[in-house]
Amino acid sequence: MEYTNLAYVLAAVLFILGIKKLSSPKTARSGNTIASIGMLIAIIATVTSFDLLDFKLIAIGMIIGAIIGATFAIRVEMTQMPQMVAIFNGFGGGASALVAAAEFFSKYGTAEQTTFLTGTIILSIFVGTLTLTGSFIAFGKLQGFVSGQPIVFPGQQILNGLLALSLIAMGAYVTMGSGQEMNMFYGVILVAAILGITLTIPIGGADMPVVISLLNSYSGVAAAATGFVLMNNGLIISGALVGASGLILTNIMCKGMNRSLANVIFGAVGLEQESGGGEAKQISIKSSTTDEAAMILDAADKVIVVPGYGLAVAQAQHAVREVAEQLESMGKKVLYAIHPVAGRMPGHMNVLLAEANVPYELLMDLDQINPEFEDCDVAIVLGANDVVNPAARHDTSSPIYGMPILDVDKSRTVIVNKRTMNPGFAGIQNELFGFDNTVMVFGDAKEMLTTLHKDLKEL
């Protein structure tokens, strides 16, 4: 048993080193390999530490899991990454809950069933099951199986409150009691599963980045709780790392939207927006064409591209890279400004652009890029809306007031590409579109960029 624990410590060290190497894209890939070696060591140490293990059964389980996992990993498209991470969070939480349940059944009614053991089992099952069902709802919303709109009904918060209370009551009963609590134990599983669903359905599609990050954190907490059940350092350290990671990302996403976590979870944003933009001011916009945009760009020295999720929806990542390369070949400096919530999960837009071969040094985050707009000649806004709305800086009545935005309006000229004048997720009109230095080019991002590329070449 001693060497097994040493192996777990080694695995944990390799996980930490692996994440540490994620601090730069240069070393990140080797970091991932190091972490996977850590996992291999932990698995081998576990398998070899018990006699009489049913190797055949474990091998069958691993082969099935490996085939499913590999199929997902190879076939998933980068735009579907949030769904995949969501469903994987679910599997992780589910695995932890199952292990805790197995432990409960084996120790139930024996002398080994201490209060601490039962308490941690209940915690692990609660978090793990909630993660499982919550993640599947999140997956369904992102994949379009379930409506991306918030699903709300009267008394929802009260229902959730009652469910949570009954969960605590049943959990406490099972933990403190002795003997007749098997039904209560099943009750905990059932209510945790329902709570995972009822807590996730009222959250709108635009808030999914927060939810996925939070569920990511939960899957870590579930693993750590299972570590307490089994008194296993490997699970505890790894679970703590994942829990911390998810929590940090959740916080970054909330800050990116200037919302509190409670507001995201209970706010059901996306529904009651009609009231938000009440006194919709009329703004007059200047609509333009791609050849005019090409001429504006020809006169520029420094260009900043601002991609929003509309760009990814239009599958225009490659088209934008071609335009950017064309501009670079004309001697212009091109940078990309990436807002924290530009994609559907933390860092999503960066991956989408990396897939289109955009060099990562050109991708700037909010703090890096905002000073750059001051001396920027042209900012090209592609399928982004709320994240470039200057109202967030000054209009206290705006629903997005206080949200950190990209200061594109400080550029000399702003070219905005949108499909239509429809407002963004927050349901509000963007005053930027009426600014004197703003030019609108309507149309599908991919078509617009392809034509723009042609126009630039023909200059």
Binding site: L22, K26, M84, L249, G343, E361
Partner: protein, 90 residues
């Protein structure tokens, strides 16, 4: 191992986690997430143990847990590698 020891490990691990994860740049947040997904597949260790010590129910619950956790490990590390491969310099 007693409870205080294991709690110490847990708390220190959280601090280490916060320290190293805040240093991951936003560009790599998606790979961080899928990679930490893979790491939470460490539940596989518990799953393997459960197949042995959990009696007949434990064996079956453990088997399903082994499948779930393997999906996480294999899928998580593979997709992270696939993504990180795409991050190129000029």
């Amino acid at each position: 191992m007693d409870i205080i020891n294991i709690l110490t490990v847990f708390i220190l691990a959280i601090f280490v986690g916060f320290e190293i994860i805040t240093k991951v740049p936003p560009t790599l947040h998606t790979p961080l997430m899928s990679g930490s997904n893979a790491i939470s597949g460490i539940a596989i260790v518990g799953a393997i143990i459960a197949t042995k010590v959990g009696g007949e129910i434990g064996t079956w619950l453990g088997l399903i847990a082994v499948i779930f956790a393997t999906i996480n490990c294999v899928g998580g590390f593979m997709v992270t590698d696939r993504m990180l491969k795409m991050f190129k310099r000029k």
